[in-house]
Symmetry: C2
Subunit: 225 residues, 2 copies
């Protein structure tokens, strides 16, 4: 299993093959396929980020999150551990996935559909910008943890390296657009560019956005300035 | 209450006022506000349509659907009656709203989010085109009704009169686009124009689409060819 997880992502292989084929044909590579890196568009289902302190309150002293699945961004993973979220109207979301590793804030990212189910008026925020937002109660096998704030709907965004930013002609914080094809395609406006040398090119949209256009692994996507 | 329900829709009043104000200012009315009718964009939550026969099997012999709320399209209403839907994997959706009056087919319209919850691979279909789709079991207070087919995700569409179609320069069956503004705005492609003299100008999108862009009553929307 370890060997498989260290193989390049399927999108990376496809990108290299596509570029090689066009080169062989002597034709220019079209659109965003011409970029230095493949474009991945991934749906983030609802999840939370925890501090080590919160993780220990919920799962027991000295507990460390365990890897369920590595994510595309280096070092990030979906943990085996899940939580129960109790909203301000005592409605519940079970099996809320935790993303690791632990961070320096506690934050829950939900879709508006989840917010409506909880009776929660979700604020639209950049991840990390949680000041003044509502909180919730989290329940784990070892106890409860009360989050005074931090329940948000995350702004849609695209992670990219400076090399990618240069290709697309954008800088950190710029708004981009993402065209998603298919029979119920759409164009997402105000896709925030987040540029960092550690980032791999990847768009994160939520389940509402993914389901609005029935995003599948083979759905064509194009990132635009 | 009857008096209120017979008043013009708020959108109609706003449209008339907006046109009058621009006329007074001696300026041209911008964009789709210049059209003969106001543009309403409404979110259709999951619902079903029933034949009279199915309604009687579910609610009892001679039962007639009762009006909970009149919809914008003339004569259409959300019924007081709701159903329980049982999917092919025995998962359940409760309180499924029925839209009246009865039709000549049974059809359930769900969002992809609902389909995923049911473990159901929803086909994307034009309303009424249900041949070869999966069915489900419906449960009402008087009995069960087995739908052999008819569970779909409806194609996004816009109802309009020939007068509206003329203004937008489209004909029945054409694909249009809808721009929805706001902080997480988007453009919905392949919005099907459905033209009929009985139709009032109204876009129907589903809950995934409405929640992807957090559509609110005051969110600016623009319908485009």
């Amino acid at each position: 299993m370890l060997a498989i997880s260290q193989m390049p992502h399927r999108a990376v292989v496809e990108h290299l093959v596509r570029q090689a084929v066009y080169q062989r044909l002597g034709k220019p590579v079209p659109g965003s396929f011409a970029g230095p890196n493949p474009l991945l568009v991934n749906v983030s289902a609802r999840h939370c980020h925890l501090t080590q302190e919160a993780a220990e309150t919920l799962f027991g002293k000295g507990h460390e999150l365990t890897v369920h699945k590595w994510l595309y961004q280096e070092g990030q993973f979906a943990a085996k551990e899940t939580l129960t979220l109790i909203g301000p109207r005592s409605r519940v979301i079970s099996n809320l996935r935790i993303l690791g590793p632990c961070r320096n804030i506690n934050q829950v990212e939900l879709a508006y559909t989840d917010g409506i189910a909880l009776g929660f008026d979700l604020p639209l925020r950049l991840s990390g910008d949680i000041k003044g937002t509502l909180g919730c109660m989290l329940m784990g096998p070892a106890g409860f943890f009360e989050m005074p704030e931090g329940v948000i709907r995350a702004l849609r965004h695209v992670h990219m390296s400076p090399e990618d930013a240069n290709f697309y002609g954008v800088k950190n914080g710029d708004a981009m657009r993402l065209r998603i094809g298919g029979r119920c395609g759409l164009v997402l406006d105000k896709m925030l560019a987040r540029v960092d040398a550690a980032f791999k090119l990847e768009v994160h949209i939520d389940t509402d956005e993914g389901n609005a256009c029935n995003l599948q692994p083979d759905t064509p996507c194009e990132l635009m300035k």
